[in-house]
């Protein structure tokens, strides 16, 4: 007879990291569905392709680093990264764009830093930013609303056989940035009238919101980051809109356009690269939101989730430095890290 000897506790939750990740992936499904509905099959193709690339790169580099490939692949973190990046890319993205982005995300942003749990930056966002900087044209061409391409067209776009130009149009955020203050132009683009945040976009964002609420209800994420994130966008947007509604979009527009909900519930909540404590996460997310609004309103790029998240990833240790909780039995919360 043999007995197990181990340290306490002897019981634990049945959950595991892989299951966590899978839950997050499931929660993106409504968003993916709406994206497909609004913009065609491009997103689905992209996501699948991204997953294949990610798993391949991950396996390759795990092997190169002498790690147990099967064990690490089971945590589904590479898949999640691929899904998030695939969702963030325009549906018109050709295969090589996804390949470069996902490869960079997995190899440089994750594995070179030591794999899961060691990456200081959100890998998906690193890949996204890389693509945005290197291929600004391809990255800002979205399918014009209401003109969702057929499956075959999407496939042709993916393989590069069909030029993007014919189908693409600017996103509402882009349009607003270009024509801010010019009411007639904005009206002609259907932003001020009709749908709340440009055709299709509010549905996409609502779908991601739904998925996010599911995650909170399953206690996969806490409310701190999404709440801070959305408040960070909405508060300055509201103030500015009150001051000059012609120049600044209303908060609802901000919350329901671009990658706001995807960022709030799926990107910024990546725990590895976020701040540590509850308070820290609140501050972290709030600053991301503010930064997004600032870049959207005054910056050169139409959307800013990726930049903001990366910048705050960079500041997360600094936030942690000041936001440690007060341990039971101590008068004051700790400051600092306790070492060089």
């Amino acid at each position: 007879m043999s007995l197990i000897t181990s340290t306490s506790p002897h019981a634990s939750v049945k959950n595991n990291t892989g299951a966590f990740m899978r839950q997050v992936i499931y929660a993106t499904l409504p968003g993916l569905a709406v994206l497909t509905w609004q913009f065609g099959w491009g997103s689905v193709i992209n996501v699948l392709w991204a997953v294949a690339v990610a798993v391949g790169c991950e396996a390759l580099f795990l092997k190169a680093r002498g790690r147990h490939v099967g064990f690490y692949l089971k945590d589904f973190s590479a898949v999640l990264t691929a899904v998030l990046l695939g969702l963030a890319l325009p549906p018109t993205a050709p295969w090589w764009l996804t390949l470069v982005g996902v490869g960079f995300a997995i190899i440089v942003a994750k594995q070179l830093y030591g794999g899961l749990g060691m990456n200081p930056f959100n890998p998906a966002m690193v890949g996204y930013v890389l693509l945005l900087i290197s291929f600004p044209v391809a990255m800002t061409q979205w399918v014009a609303p209401g003109e969702a391409p057929s499956f075959m067209q999407s496939l042709q776009l993916f393989t590069g056989q069909l030029p993007v130009d014919g189908l693409s149009g600017a996103t509402p955020l882009d349009t607003f940035r270009t024509w801010a203050g010019n009411e007639s132009e904005l009206a002609s683009h259907g932003i001020l009238h009709g749908d709340i945040a440009g055709q299709g976009w509010e549905w996409v964002n609502l779908a991601f919101l739904l998925g996010g609420l599911y995650l909170i209800s399953r206690k996969i994420i806490t409310w701190h980051i999404p709440a801070g994130f959305l408040a960070g966008i909405a508060a300055p947007a509201f103030i500015a809109w009150q001051i000059d509604p012609a120049r600044f979009a209303d908060p609802l527009f901000h919350l329901l356009s671009g990658g706001a909900m995807l960022g709030a519930f799926f990107i910024a909540t990546d725990p590895v690269s976020a701040a540590t404590s509850r308070m820290g996460r609140l501050v972290y997310a709030l600053l991301i939101g503010v930064l997004i609004w600032v870049i959207r309103s005054f910056g050169g790029y139409p959307d800013a989730v990726a930049f903001s998240v990366l910048l705050l990833n960079l500041s997360a240790p600094f936030i942690d430095y000041y936001t440690q909780p007060r341990t039971y039995g101590h008068d004051k919360p700790n400051r600092g890290t306790g070492g060089a």
Binding site: M1, S2, L3, I4, T5, S6, T7, R67, H68, F71
Partner: protein, 194 residues
């Protein structure tokens, strides 16, 4: 031409002024003494074993302060080397344990008393006075004071001193570090008496 001369003169003037300031400062704020030795000595394990090539820890600390490599302390292990690297801001070194025994386990000397002839040679050799005894009477090691430096082994004419690893007691026992990522943290043991 005058412009060049003016420029040269100005530069020379500046050089003279700054040179004077710097020279004055270097005399005025000279650092006396070398408190670093104390800090280095504080990090060394004080086994006084001499494996670094110096007679005792403090002499080695002084040698380190004067530029000797700080990786020659086998009893301190890599941890001490790293701590010294931090303290001194020098290049990282790996432990140079040429000719030294493995130092990971704490050890103490043990005298097999039946064989001890009471020659007091080990007492003279012990750097921390951890051996008690008198001439022609058997000696014994005060375990709490012994640093396990094994300097007493060689002088013993009858080879009755062993260096034995310190066994953990219930008081000193501690949990192991878990095996790490990818490993199960438990183990199995066979049980017969049930």
């Amino acid at each position: 031409m005058t412009a060049v001369l003016i420029a040269v003169a100005a530069l020379l003037g500046l050089a003279a002024v700054f040179g004077a300031i710097l020279g004055f400062a270097s005399e005025k704020f000279k650092v006396e003494g070398d408190p670093i030795v104390e800090q280095i000595d504080g990090l060394l394990p004080q086994t006084q074993c001499g494996q670094c090539g110096h007679p005792g820890c403090r002499p080695y600390a002084e040698a380190i302060a004067e530029g000797e490599d700080h990786n020659r302390c086998p009893p301190g292990g890599q941890d001490t080397v790293d701590a010294l690297t931090d303290l001194l801001g020098r290049d990282e070194l790996t432990l140079d344990d040429d000719g030294a025994e493995d130092a990971d386990v704490a050890k103490v000397a043990y005298i097999r008393e039946d064989e001890c002839i009471g020659c007091t040679k080990c007492i003279q050799a012990c750097p921390v006075d951890a051996i008690v005894g008198a001439a022609k009477l058997m000696h014994t090691v005060i375990v709490d004071e012994c640093t396990g430096c094994d300097l007493c082994v060689e002088p013993c004419p009858v080879d009755c001193i062993d260096i034995v690893p310190v066994k953990p007691t219930l008081q000193t026992w501690g949990w192991n570090r878990p095996a790490g990522i990818g490993q199960r943290p438990d183990s199995r043991i066979e049980v017969v008496n049930l």
